[in-house]
Amino acid sequence: MDNPILVADKLGVRFETAEGPVTAVDDVSFSVRQGEFLSIIGPSGCGKSTVFNVIGGLLGQHEGTVKVAGERIDGPHKSIGMVFQEESTFPWRNVTDNVAFPLELTGMAKQKRIERARHFIKMVGLDGFEKRFPGELSGGMRQRVSLARTLASEPKILLMDEPFAALDEQTRLLLGDKVLQIQQQLKQTTLLITHNITEAVQMSDRILVMTYRPGRVKRIVEIDLPRPRTSDIVGSEAFGRYVAQIWSDLREEASRGMKDEEAHMLHEAQP
């Protein structure tokens, strides 16, 4: 790949548990081009979120390297903006102050950062809610505030960990549209961690399918669907083919995960 902006090389993560060491992620390598939308998909427990934490610099102990624009990174980096799975807005700040948070850290003048924040609030479609507090917003709106806050830091790479996991399907599709629109508008390099096949196919240029524990790269699928895309694409035949193809890759891994979980529960239930 020519001049990738993000390179993950031979990532490996091992955890010590009460039942002995567990390899969560093993030999995971991939790269992302400038402006590309890559999704990492896999069954629960395959180590997707661990990869997210390694790339975001939140997990200190790991094997392998992460490089952004050729520079090796070993911790949180200003080039990477993270959107988390859990609700992560600051409840004590209104929408504008939440979005302006990264700008405040740079020492930007108040008036200027409010203007910048309003730009990103409008981008995620929350204009009119600038003075509202997160407690007055729906789950989907709060995730949009988190997205706007991360975008306000103008990261080179947007890293999202199942940001819509807690939302209903319709909201998820509509927010997918919003993310696609923003990604296409900003040509934002994006790495999405998800377990939702529809979401991954709807948004991605490529999808990296992971195996169940230990998490390894099973396959990388190129999504050759036209852009700009919207959620209308979910009704197309080509979309259905991609979903079926990825599901056939994931099915075996998901079954393995389910059996492993059942065996674990049986073991726990034994006197």
Binding site: F84, E86, S88, F90, W92, F101, D127, L175
Partner: protein
């Protein structure tokens, strides 16, 4: 996907709980008045609320209630500021140094249950018969809940908020001031509220015991004169102190931690 901004509540709706509270209090007073006048409750134990109401004027003009009220409020305010400053600082220290927390947290919790007021002779020996004895007893008795709730609030900061801070590369100091402290504020305020309850009880109690200034001494004087309506009127002023503090605290919390 733009949703219309939701309609705000009618402004008058905000006064309904206060009106219901006031009407409930009036209803309780009416019931008490009726029970006392009917002889169900002895007038020698509890004077009718109408007599207490009538005693207010006398207590205000003859017993220097305003001066006493401000003395008690001043003692409570000093105690409140001290428990907030030292309690929050102590809680932060215990949260920061786990060994210290493991070593002393149980002792702090035990201190919360200790009847510190009984040690008033010791405090009098150390500070003399003055307001500092009252303030220091209130301080020692009210400090533990602030420390414990500060530790609880900081430890309860959601991990994802800490991770947001880390993802923005915040320094340890920024992480504390911009994320952990605001996130912990509601729990810290619960501790300060509890502390103020302990402080008020102890301040008025010690004023009563050592017969020094304030509303506690007045209650002692009036009770010894067997002026029951006056005693209850003075107790109402103690309740007023409590109301003033809790309203001020609520405003402070709303100012420091909007969005709750």
């Amino acid at each position: 996907m733009n949703a219309a901004a939701p309609a705000r509540r009618e402004p008058l709706a905000g006064y309904v709980p206060a009106a219901v509270g006031l009407l409930s209090a009036i209803a309780v007073f009416c019931v008490l008045e009726g029970l006392i006048r009917a002889g169900v409750i002895s007038e020698y134990i509890m004077p009718p609320p109408s007599h207490v109401l009538a005693a207010f004027g006398r207590v205000i003009t003859e017993e220097h209630i305003v001066r006493r009220f401000f003395l008690t409020i001043g003692e409570c305010l000093t105690t409140g500021v001290m428990i907030t400053v030292f309690g929050v600082a102590g809680g932060v220290l215990l949260h920061r140094y786990k060994l210290l927390q493991q070593a002393v947290e149980t002792w702090v919790a035990a201190l919360a249950a200790a009847p510190v007021v009984l040690a008033y002779p010791l405090f009098m020996v150390i500070f003399g018969r003055n307001a500092w004895t009252i303030i220091m007893i209130g301080f020692v008795a009210a400090l533990p809940p602030v420390i414990l709730k500060t530790v609880e609030g900081l430890a309860g900061t959601r991990k994802v908020l800490v991770n947001v801070g880390r993802s923005f590369n915040l320094s340890a100091s920024q992480q504390f001031w911009k994320i952990m402290l605001p996130a912990a504020l509601p729990t810290i305020f619960t501790g300060v509220r509890l502390g103020l309850i302990f402080a008020l009880i102890n301040v008025v109690g010690v004023e009563f015991l050592i017969n020094y200034g304030g509303l506690g001494q007045l209650i002692n004087d009036l009770a010894e004169r067997y002026d029951l309506p006056g005693t209850y009127a003075a107790i109402c002023f103690v309740i007023l102190v409590s109301v003033v503090f809790f309203m001020a605290l609520e405003r402070a919390e709303r100012w420091l931690r909007p969005g709750n």
